[in-house]
């Protein structure tokens, strides 16, 4: 029966090519526009590390100025001071923890005539690699002793390894960074978390850094920081040492806590730590520490931009206009077949079979609109890429889930649009239209 209805639907679609094209086009444009925007929003709000997002917690300590306490939104500093980050690393109370920040180094390739270039660098700890489930092409991360002994080791991204070593296994070889030799311990596989959850402070949709070196080494040699630094109070005195001991925040801190007990224990530990620091005259504000898991942190930092949400709202309204359009056209089409329908009713077709037939026809139109719409959405995403440039490069990819959503949305929309016209078409009295003939 189904295939017969399909055939009927197809014939009916072909009978009014202009009207059918209009309908398919209306749905296609609506789906194209909304899917373009939905995809961007979907990638922006996607979970960058689904397997672990509920056990990784961003740590915030309220070490801020007393003067700004009256702020209503209860916003905490989004990074830690060096003093606190080091104290938490040293205490090691979480299952794993990592403090890290962004910097930039100059890499000198050893080949003849090759120019030095700057590389985005993350200063971090051994635990960074297992904590964020990083996969390696060659070698692996460094171990805790390297952190302690200030070993000059480096993990390269796949791209940098290709640029410097032509993509071969470079473990054990050395790279010259800011005039010093670093030993390669690992080369990472493709790594592109979207959003870049481990450091949203310095751009949630930036690419990950190109090389990773031990945090302690970067501090030892006073390498330039190039991420956000925020000081509510100036350091006491000049020099790097004074900066390290200041209230300036510039470090992102993550803790891996495997269950509620561990989380509670860690919170207790943080509160006790702040209590103890208060006695030393720091932390002027009431205790207000926070642990946010990955998705809570993305929410808190408003990773999905307002503009994207505004566009999402407008694009869904746009789809609504297209649907109203389709309802009108379907109504015109189905009522145009009134003679047909009443004749078929007179010949014994039941209301329900007419209903199913018309819904199948609507669904077919939806399918067509969905397929075309996906094509348009692809074009739309290319358009967005062209307009926004590299900033959105990683936001405009469609995965299978999005493709299926697009087609599903199109068929659903068409069926919804078809409901009323179908009902009108089915409620024609048998033979009513035959009288004038």
């Amino acid at each position: 029966m189904f295939s017969y209805y399909l055939k009927l639907g197809w014939l009916s679609i072909r009978r009014n090519p202009l009207l059918s094209t209009l309908m398919v086009a209306a749905i296609a444009i609506g789906i194209g526009a909304s899917m373009t925007i939905i995809t961007v929003n979907y990638v922006m709000s996607s979970n960058p590390i689904p397997q672990k997002s509920d056990v990784l917690f961003y740590v915030q300590l309220d070490s801020d100025d007393l003067n700004t306490l009256d702020d209503e939104d209860n916003e905490l500093l989004d990074q830690l001071t060096y003093l606190d980050a080091m104290a938490l690393m040293k205490a090691g109370k979480a299952y794993r923890q990592v403090a890290s920040n962004r910097s930039g180094l100059v890499l000198e390739p050893q080949g003849e005539g090759e120019r030095p270039f700057s590389v985005d660098t993350r200063n971090t700890w051994a635990s960074f690699f297992p904590m964020f489930d990083l996969r390696f092409l060659y070698g692996g991360g460094w171990d805790d002793t390297a952190d302690q002994n200030l070993e000059r080791v480096v993990v390269l991204s796949k791209e940098i390894n290709e640029r410097v070593f032509g993509g071969e296994d470079s473990v054990g070889r050395s790279v010259r960074l800011n005039g010093m030799d670093f030993r390669v311990v690992g080369v990472m596989d493709e790594f592109l978390p979207m959003p870049k959850f481990y450091d949203v402070t310095n751009g949630a949709f930036n690419e990950p850094e190109e090389i990773f070196i031990p945090f302690n080494v970067a501090v030892e040699y006073e390498f330039d920081r190039n991420g956000n630094t925020n000081c509510w109070k100036m350091p006491d005195g000049d020099g790097f040492e004074a900066f390290l001991n200041s209230e300036c925040v510039w470090i992102q801190f993550w803790a891996e806590l495997r269950n509620a007990t561990e989380k509670q224990d860690y919170m207790d530990f943080l509160n006790a730590y702040v209590e103890q620091q208060k006695e030393l005259g720091r932390f002027p504000r009431p205790i207000n520490n926070r642990l946010s898991d990955v998705m809570e942190w993305m929410e808190d930092q408003e990773v999905v931009e307002d503009d994207a949400r505004v566009m999402l709202g407008l694009s869904l309204l746009f789809l609504l206009v297209c649907l109203l359009n389709t309802i009108g056209l379907l109504l015109a089409k189905f009522l145009g077949k009134s003679t047909d329908n009443s004749l078929r009713r007179a010949l014994g077709a039941s209301k329900s079979s007419l209903f199913i037939q018309h819904m199948i026809e609507s669904g077919l139109i939806g399918l067509g609109g969905g397929l075309f719409g996906l094509g348009l959405a692809w074009l739309g995403l290319r358009g967005i890429e062209m307009l926004f440039g590299e900033y959105v490069e990683n936001l405009v990819g469609m995965d299978w889930a999005m493709v299926m959503t697009g087609i599903g949305l199109a068929i659903l929309s068409a069926l919804l649009a078809g409901l009323y016209p179908t009902w009108r078409a089915c409620s024609i009295a048998p033979a009513s239209q035959l009288k004038i003939q």
Partner: protein, 403 residues
């Protein structure tokens, strides 16, 4: 006119009319709110940065060699750049308007850690700063060469002179901003600085900051490892000079890399890319929307003409002129559109209220609503003209035929 009969005839078969009216209403709500967003973005884009954008470019010099002498390099670089023909002036600074990265400090009119200062963006400049940026000094005087202090990466001291923008003076001394000249302000809670100059206007590096006009210049050169040079050229010379300066710097000292060269135009384009892209996307959306709505009107109007061919023929046979038929369909569409834009006006305001509450957007300017109403009425009339014209050419003889 025959509004009464047309309206009653429409009421007998109202679904199609309601659909069109709703479509027009939603179209209008999207359109007006989108235009309002575009206006807001445009306002952002058209704010001046305060500097001579057409003739300025910037590049960074990053030292990496162990024997790299930053102070000597900066002094020699600046002397060499300033000596190039076509260069008006050049300075070392840490940032430039619209670049998105920079430094801000709290300024207060009274000393003490308990005073909450006003955030002000800092540009470190030497005595060539005003000329290089192309700033307009309203009062006071420029820095002199003897004022310049070299600042290390983690230094906490500040020079005793500062030049501020008028907007900064307005925030610090709201009663009489022009009296700011010669006054003492405090940076880093307790360090006093004297305001020795007031400039008309200059933007901070962050275009979305609500204090974007609050800027101060301090007489510093920096030893931060990475230096940014800002170079102003004679009109029309910038594009020729850019590669020349880059090449010259790279050749002069092999212990550093020269990078991130961009003209102010490029920096502006990049800074506002999100805004200008959104304007383009919204323009495209509105156009598409109007096309779709018009197609819907054409589709339904054609359908209703087809259905009423016999009636039209009958009317024609009874003496109605072609013009009367044309007018009938045009009037019908006008009534539908009128209902549509009236509902649309309500929807527009409703949507705007939601947007203001959720996204803190600005309120729509009142005239957008009537303009959009008139425009959509016109679009409706144009869309229906084709089908109406076809209706008017139905021959009276049709009335005598069956089906």
């Amino acid at each position: 006119m025959e509004i009464g009969p047309i309206w009653r005839a429409m009421m007998r078969n109202k679904t199609g009319a309601i659909l069109i009216a709703l479509q027009i209403a939603v179209t209008m709500a999207i359109m007006v709110n989108a235009v309002s967003i575009m206006q807001e973005k445009n306002r952002m884009l058209s704010r001046p940065s305060g500097i001579d954008e057409n003739n300025i470019f910037t590049l960074a010099s990053v030292g990496f060699a162990e024997d790299f002498n930053e102070r000597a390099t900066v002094e020699e670089d600046l002397a060499a750049i300033r000596a190039m023909p076509g260069v008006v002036n050049a300075i070392q600074s840490i940032s430039i308007p619209l670049s998105g990265g920079g430094w801000s400090m709290g300024l207060a009119v009274e000393p003490g850690p308990e005073i909450d200062g006003t955030g002000v963006a800092v540009y470190f400049v030497d005595e060539h700063g005003l000329d290089t940026f192309g700033l307009n000094l309203l009062a006071g005087e420029n820095f002199s060469a003897t004022d310049i202090v070299w600042r290390g990466r983690s230094d906490t001291s500040w020079p005793d002179k500062v030049i501020v923008t008028l907007a900064t003076a307005e925030t610090l001394f709201p009663d009489d901003p022009h009296s700011a000249l010669g006054k003492t302000v405090y940076i880093a809670d307790v360090i006093p600085m004297t305001i020795t100059g007031i400039i008309e206007q200059m933007q901070a590096p962050w275009n979305g900051w609500d204090g974007v006009e609050r800027v101060m210049l301090t007489p510093n050169r920096t030893l931060f490892g990475s230096s940014r040079y800002i170079i102003r050229t004679k009109p029309g010379m910038r594009d020729t000079l850019m590669p020349q300066v880059e090449e010259m710097l790279a050749e002069r000292n092999k212990g550093r890399i020269v990078r991130s060269m961009s003209s102010m135009d490029e920096i502006r384009e990049k800074s506002y890319r999100a805004e200008s892209s959104m304007i383009k996307i919204l323009t495209f959306t509105i156009t598409l929307l109007i096309v779709i709505t018009s197609l819907g009107i054409v589709g339904l109007a054609s359908f209703s003409v087809n259905r009423r061919t016999r009636q039209i023929g009958t009317r024609r046979a009874l003496g109605a002129s072609k013009l009367a038929i044309l007018r009938y369909f045009m009037t019908e569409n006008f009534l539908i559109s009128l209902v549509g834009v009236l509902i649309g006006a309500a929807l527009t305001v409703g949507l705007n209220i939601i947007m203001i509450e959720t996204f803190s957007l600005t309120r729509i300017t009142w005239y957008l609503v009537p303009v959009a109403m008139l425009m959509l009425l016109a679009v409706g009339q144009m869309a229906v003209f084709g089908p109406a014209k076809r209706a008017s050419s139905v021959p009276p003889a049709v009335a005598t035929r069956t089906v």
